[in-house]
Amino acid sequence: MKNHVWRPLLIVLVVVCGILMTRALVVPEDFGVYERGYMYGWHRKSNEAEWKAIRVKYKTARVCAGCHKDKHDELIKSVHAAISCENCHGPNYDHPEDPLGMNIDRSRKLCIRCHSYLPYKGTLRGGIPGIDPEKHYPSAECVLCHIPHNPKAMNQKREARS
């Protein structure tokens, strides 16, 4: 160490040691290479569990049927059978305990997702009964006349038919 030329190197060593020691402190224990190798699997393992622990909001129609069997039975006989309850009623969360769940969307915007007519012949969408939202009672909500759980024309609300 007599030679002064090596002095900057000493500082370099200090910096490198500093970085390595910070790393020992900062990097989580389970950070490493896992299933997919270094290229695709270099990560903190516990993050996988964090993602798995995300709260499930949509509990699917099967859960709804557990309590609301009448509504469920009514719906599966209609042409709307394929539509999941939560698509219109909102995600379950922990209904009925959780006030977050079940905010029913009765808006026109919801219905025209499918029932706004698009002139695409030969496609599934082209075959769905559709309206022009700008011309078909633009200021009325669809549910004033149509019954979503059984939307056949003859089931239209009595007031609307008259």
Partner: protein, 417 residues
């Protein structure tokens, strides 16, 4: 608001999540690292290859590259969504990513520059320490100076001819190692872009080489500009000082030395510029000729949307015009200044056209995105990634340079070499 939404205008079909995510700071990043690398390469021309005429500008550009060094990192920090986590690049580097090496390359390069400067200035530092030590009474400022320079000397007070000789050899070796590292630092910035296979404009193996060449061009140009400005200030000062001390060099002497340095430096500038333009044109011709799937959309970006930015600003004003300016006989200081400024603008536009141009079209090849640089900031995001953020990045190196030269003067120093 979603990141990028404030300055992106979409046209035709663009994927819903696509925005100009890499904005002005990512234009600044290769521009600033380019300046660092270029300034260092210029100084190495003297230290390694012994181009004697560059002695004056060599020390200057070395110190300038030190001032630019932290600024190469600044745009990245301003760009990151989580700047406080920037250090993770060194904590858990993922070397399959081009960015992962940044921390290591940058630190290595920084240490080389700082060590080299230490060796260049050691004699000056030690002499200052000795001079201050010999003083009987020291004022507050002098005490602080004494402390600072003693610290900088790191106890290496030996000024014997052997020690000085060792300094010189160390400088030579460091400058030698520094050139490839500087080229790597910047070539790899090019690699960051060139290796993005999802981007049709960026993906080319020529990108790193193009980046290195234009880096040297911009670094040399900036050194010329700053050198001219610094000399101008020096002339003013010396004219004022000469009233008291006629022994100082006259303005004419200074000027002739200046024009000599500038002329020689501009030769290197032109050399690298020819190389850079050749490669860029090769890339363009190749794309044009092979006309793969992406060419349709690239053509409409290059020849229509960005025509003015690419062919007028970058190639016209940034390359052709300075070329004429430098090559016409009888180069004057003023002309060199204008030429260098144009070159800087041209290189900046090249970075812009690569970074922003690469995001000017959708990955669907069916739509375009236009970038509107936020001028007045209305949020932290538009401040960081707007005009003011960019200006901060441009101004910082000059402030740092000023501060560094308070401690390590660039002119009129009896240095090791």
């Amino acid at each position: 608001m979603v990141h990028g939404e404030a300055w992106t205008i979409k046209e035709l079909f663009v994927y819903p999540n696509e925005y100009i995510y890499w904005s002005i700071q990512i234009v600044m990043y290769p521009f600033m690292t380019g300046l660092v690398a270029g300034a260092f390469v210029l100084s190495s021309l003297y230290h390694v290859f012994g181009v004697k005429q560059l002695k004056e500008i060599a020390r200057f550009s070395l110190v300038f590259s030190l001032a630019l060094l932290p600024v190469a990192m600044l745009p990245l920090l301003l760009h990151l969504q989580q700047p406080q986590r920037g250090i993770y690049v060194m904590m858990t580097p993922h070397f399959t990513s081009a960015i992962a090496a940044f921390g290591i390359v940058f630190t290595t390069y920084g240490m080389i520059v700082i060590s080299e400067i230490w060796f260049v200035y050691r004699r000056f530092i030690v002499e200052t320490v000795l001079e201050l030590r010999s003083k009987q009474r020291r004022g507050n400022v002098e005490s602080a100076q004494f402390f600072l320079y003693s610290l900088l000397a790191m106890g290496a007070m030996d000024l014997s001819p052997e020690a000085i000789h060792k300094d010189e050899r160390a400088v030579g070796i460091l400058a030698g190692i520094g050139i490839p590292v500087a080229c790597f630092l910047h070539g790899y910035a090019g690699f960051i872009f060139g290796s993005v296979k999802a981007n049709a404009l960026w993906m080319t193996p020529l990108m790193p080489v193009i980046f290195i060449c234009s880096a040297v061009v911009s670094g040399v140009a900036l050194c010329i500009v700053t050198y001219i400005i610094a000399m101008e200030i020096r002339k003013q000062i010396s004219a004022w000082k000469r009233k008291n001390d006629p022994r100082l060099p006259s303005n004419e002497e200074l000027r002739s030395a200046e024009i000599q340095t500038v002329t020689l430096t501009s030769k290197y500038l032109l050399m690298f510029m020819v190389l850079a333009i050749t490669l860029e044109l090769l890339d363009l011709i190749f794309r044009n000729y092979t006309a793969v799937k992406s060419w349709d959309i690239l053509r409409s970006v290059i020849y229509e949307k960005d025509f003015f930015k690419i062919f007028v600003l970058q190639y016209g004003f940034g390359n052709v015009l300075p070329f004429i300016i430098f090559l016409l006989p009888g180069l004057t200081i003023r002309r060199a200044l204008v030429g260098s400024l144009l070159v800087l603008m041209g290189v900046f536009m090249m970075r812009w056209n690569v970074v922003i141009g690469g995001q000017a079209f959708s990955a669907s090849f069916s739509g375009f995105m236009e970038y509107r640089l936020p001028i007045w900031p209305n949020s932290l995001e538009t401040l960081k990634e707007g005009l003011f953020g960019a200006l901060a990045v441009i101004i910082t190196p000059f402030v740092l340079f000023f501060l560094v030269t308070r401690v390590l003067p660039v002119f009129g120093v009896k240095d090791t070499h």
